[in-house]
């Protein structure tokens, strides 16, 4: 890996993090995107996309909801894909590096978010001073810039200086290690879908979960087919429920 490639991979990682800061969570962090970019930089776009797609499935449910930062799938995906491409290996290696990195970086993000309450008090002072709009804006932007630089530099260091170390680890990995990691790779996507269920599922909605599962498991219908069927169903439910509501309303009006 050349220094330029390592630098660019670092930038991908930085970009994937500030996506959620200043680009309105536009999803540059998703492994399909970072995998594509890392693949382009390292000269194997196709493999980058394939690894990105596998990591994407693992992190399908990696959602950041509420004030706590979620898994740092941007940095994790970037480093995971880069290591796998550097060592000509597959998803097992990408996962073995990407998953721990995404967890470790989550801790770093938590740390930074804690430290950032300091500058907020400075902004309160600036407001009292008056006419400090430019400085206030800069405090806001500097917070983002620090995020970009810290993640980009860390990624650069890992993929550039960690190169030989990583290769040694990967080539000396015993077979049982591989089958073990294969098992982890199979189980982890279940976490993603469990997280989604946790987000969406209410007691009333359980029948639709069963329906979606059965349509795909027994009838082998595609995602699009299941989506079309359930949209139709949701539409029907909307009509039934809103007509029920108006019926109840007119009834109570008649009583009056």
């Amino acid at each position: 890996m050349t220094i330029l490639q390592a630098f660019l991979v670092g930038c991908v990682s930085g970009l994937s993090v500030i996506e959620g800061k200043i680009f309105g969570e536009c999803k540059l962090r998703e492994p399909v995107v970072t995998g594509f970019l890392v693949g382009l930089i390292l000269g194997d776009m196709k493999q980058g996309l394939i690894i990105g797609a596998s990591l994407q499935l693992i992190w399908m449910g990696a959602v950041a909801i509420g004030p706590t930062p979620g898994l740092d799938i941007g940095t994790g995906g970037t480093i995971g894909t880069a290591v796998a491409l550097m060592t000509n290996s597959g998803i097992e290696v990408a996962m073995a590096f990407g998953v721990p990195v995404s967890i470790l970086m989550q801790f770093l993000d938590t740390l930074i978010d804690t430290a950032y309450s300091g500058p907020m008090h400075y902004v309160e002072k600036l407001i009292d001073l008056g006419n400090q709009e430019k400085k206030i804006a800069w405090v806001h932007h500097l917070c983002t810039i620090i995020y970009f630089v810290s993640h980009a530099v860390l990624t650069f260091v890992v993929v550039f200086f960690g190169n030989s170390m990583i290769e040694a680890i990967v080539t000396n990995m015993p077979a049982w290690m591989n089958t073990g990691l294969g098992g982890v790779a199979k189980l982890l996507p279940a976490l993603g879908f469990a997280l989604l269920l946790h987000l969406l599922l209410e007691f009333d909605l359980i029948p639709y979960f069963i329906l979606g599962f059965c349509l795909a498991a027994y009838l082998k219908l595609s995602m699009v087919a299941v989506a079309a069927i359930t949209i139709a169903l949701a539409w029907i439910m909307f009509q039934i429920k809103s007509s029920q509501k108006t019926a109840v309303e007119t009834e109570s009006e008649e009583e009056l």
């Binding site: 990105g52 994407q56 907020m120 199979k186 976490l191 027994y218 995602m223 299941v226 069927i229």
Partner: protein, 275 residues
């Protein structure tokens, strides 16, 4: 020349565009104390300045007001910004206006709008966008990332644009009427139907945990997986998902769950129970 949106304060379409673009940086200075507070202030500050052009103290008070803790899903946040500015104008015009109601409205919107926003943007749009992206990228098609970004960002950009517009012009009346009629809840519920069914479908088609275990009993090879398939295809994937879901329900920390999955998955993988 920019079109005038509010003649009294000289607020133009250009100002609205500025809020729109600045709303993308909402999380830029996220912190655990004020969360998106500074991001919110940054987005509306130039317009606040115009509203309080002749009232320095009012302006400072308003700035402090919007530094207060604020946190919500980012895509619908311009709606709150629009409503907030409409209320700030009311506050400027009417001395008896209770300014604490501005933050009260912001806080009261955080919960429900985040709930809806999370369902749509994290639960539905992201899942659909990623699913489309994966379906291209998994065989190395470079369309994957572009399809993903487009599928997610078209609703993202549109929600912001119309949210700001509707929030500012229809102001406070909008959400109370929607909430009163109950249409918002019903709409979210029906969206949940599609979302939950999509998760069920993905559990069945995308996890694919199988067991390579096989026993030989008096010359007959018994493959565990074929028996499992008799009961229900993709049974192991379903069980794994439901166990993890149960852990989440019990409010076990995600990092712990991940560590447990890594440990369990590794052991099951090495021993050849799952593959």
């Amino acid at each position: 020349m920019s079109e005038i949106v509010n003649a009294k304060y000289g607020i133009t379409k250009k100002d609205m565009r500025q809020i729109y673009w600045r709303s993308f940086t909402l999380l830029g200075s996220f912190n655990f104390e004020t969360m998106e507070g500074l991001g919110f202030l940054y987005a509306i500050q130039p317009t606040l300045r115009k509203i309080y052009a002749d009232d320095e103290d009012g302006y400072k008070a308003a700035c402090h007001r919007h530094m207060a803790a604020f946190n919500m899903t980012v895509a619908p946040s311009p709606l709150v910004m629009g409503i907030t500015l409409a209320m700030e104008q009311m506050a400027k015009e009417n001395e008896n206006f209770d300014v604490t109601s501005i933050n009260a409205v912001k806080v009261s919107l955080m919960g429900p709008l985040s709930g809806i926003g999370d369902t749509f943007f994290w639960g539905i749009f992201r899942v659909i966008a990623c699913a489309l992206g994966v379906s291209f990228a998994s065989y190395g098609n470079p369309l994957g990332p572009f399809v993903l970004l487009l599928a997610f960002n078209i609703p993202n950009f549109l929600t912001r644009y119309y949210g700001l517009k509707v929030g500012y012009s229809n102001g406070t009346t909008l959400l109370t009427s929607l909430q009163k009629s109950g249409a918002m809840q019903l709409f979210t519920y029906c969206a949940g139907i599609v979302g939950v069914a999509a998760v069920g479908c993905m559990v069945a088609s995308w996890i694919g945990i199988t067991s390579p275990l096989a026993f030989e009993i008096s010359g007959n090879v018994i493959e565990v997986q074929s028996y499992l398939d008799e009961i229900c295809p993709e049974l192991l994937s379903l069980i794994a998902t439901l166990i993890i879901y149960a852990c989440l329900k019990k409010k076990i920390k995600i990092t712990r769950i991940i560590l447990a999955i890594i440990a369990v998955g590794f052991v099951l993988g090495v021993t050849g129970v799952i593959a």
